[in-house]
């Protein structure tokens, strides 16, 4: 597969993502500067983590107006798989490609730690290889990851099965203690209506080798690589 990894001024996880996709999973991957306007020829788009534009105004608010974002919206509308990780998730929300917003962590602290995520429902090529109810172990690293949407939006997300990951404990129990940032209903990741766009605060690209503490993050990339393309074509 050919991955486009978007680099905004201030993106910091682009090379981690490249390393995992190219060196660990042996996929084609390219890092594209945010002024790129053509995403044809790529099979998937990654908006990585970081602090685009210094998190000025609101996280992701300025990156939303980068030239590449129009191409990302077009790519997503055509059904192309898009993942926004951490700052990428914030950019997707600011762009209205996903509902809700990510606000300051409840603790007001930057949280850099491993979390457990329970796979909920939701048909998406990004998590097709992870069965509902199973638990994966992936780190977070953010100060503004507190997912907010109004109750009507949250109810709709749940009804549509668009909550893909929830923070939980090692046993898969969704508890207040396992919620690292105060996210509404422990939400860690959601998809758009069609399922091709996933936004998540945890960093799968930082759980790609045993050396760094685990490989559960690869299950997300491998979902897309092994099963996702089949889903999209079918």
């Amino acid at each position: 597969m050919r991955f486009a990894i978007i680099r905004f001024p201030g993106t910091w996880s682009d090379r981690d993502t490249y390393h995992v996709l190219h060196n660990v999973l042996e996929q084609q991957a390219e890092i594209l500067w945010h002024r790129e306007t053509d995403l044809s020829g790529y099979d998937a788009v990654v908006l990585p983590g970081g602090f685009s534009y210094g998190d000025y105004l609101r996280c992701g608010a300025i990156a939303r107006f980068s030239p590449v974002m129009e191409a990302v919206a077009t790519f997503a509308e055509a059904g192309g798989p898009v993942i926004g990780i951490c700052n990428g998730f914030q950019v997707l929300c600011e762009s209205h490609l996903l509902p809700g917003a990510l606000i300051r962590n409840q603790s007001l602290q930057f949280r850099c730690q491993w979390t457990y995520l329970r796979r909920e429902g939701g048909e998406t090529p990004w998590a097709a290889g992870i069965s509902a109810g199973s638990v994966i172990h992936i780190p977070i690293s953010h100060g503004d990851g507190n997912y907010y949407a109004d109750d009507a939006t949250l109810d709709q997300l749940e009804a549509d099965g668009r909550v893909v990951f929830r923070y939980c404990d090692a046993a898969g129990q969704v508890t207040p203690e396992s919620n690292p940032n105060g996210s509404a209903r422990n939400i860690a990741g959601i998809i758009n209506r069609r399922g091709n766009v996933l936004g998540m605060m945890p960093h799968p690209e930082r759980a790609g080798e045993d050396l760094v503490g685990g490989t559960d993050g690869n299950r997300i990339w491998e979902s897309l690589i092994r099963e996702g393309l089949g889903l999209l074509v079918g």
Binding site: I103, R104, Q106
Partner: protein
């Protein structure tokens, strides 16, 4: 001002007025504001027993040129709804004065 500049000005568009917009952005009442809560706690610990709530927000000063006040209002409103505030979590208000 030289004669040439005067002529250009005469033939150009109607003179624009410079305005100053003071923009206030705050979190919607339904959105939790941990920063405001923490500041409220700090005020209480300083002995301000009467404090009943703190909400944090942002303040912008935007200087702009527009043909008249209505045009300036319309522009600032667009700036707020498209960039300065995120309507999902925030509300905004602004006041406009001639700069």
């Amino acid at each position: 001002m030289s004669k040439r500049e005067a002529k250009v000005k005469k033939e150009g568009p109607p003179t624009a007025t410079t305005f100053l917009a003071r923009v206030f952005v705050s979190l919607k009442p339904t959105v939790n504001d941990p920063e405001g809560i923490t500041i409220g706690g700090a005020l209480a610990s300083l002995g301000f027993d009467g404090v009943r709530g703190v909400r944090s927000g942002r303040y912008f000063q935007v200087t702009l040129e527009a043909s008249n006040e209505n045009a300036a209002m319309a522009q600032v409103d667009q700036m707020c709804s498209r960039l300065l505030a995120n309507p999902v979590i925030e509300t905004y208000s602004f006041e406009l004065v001639e700069a």
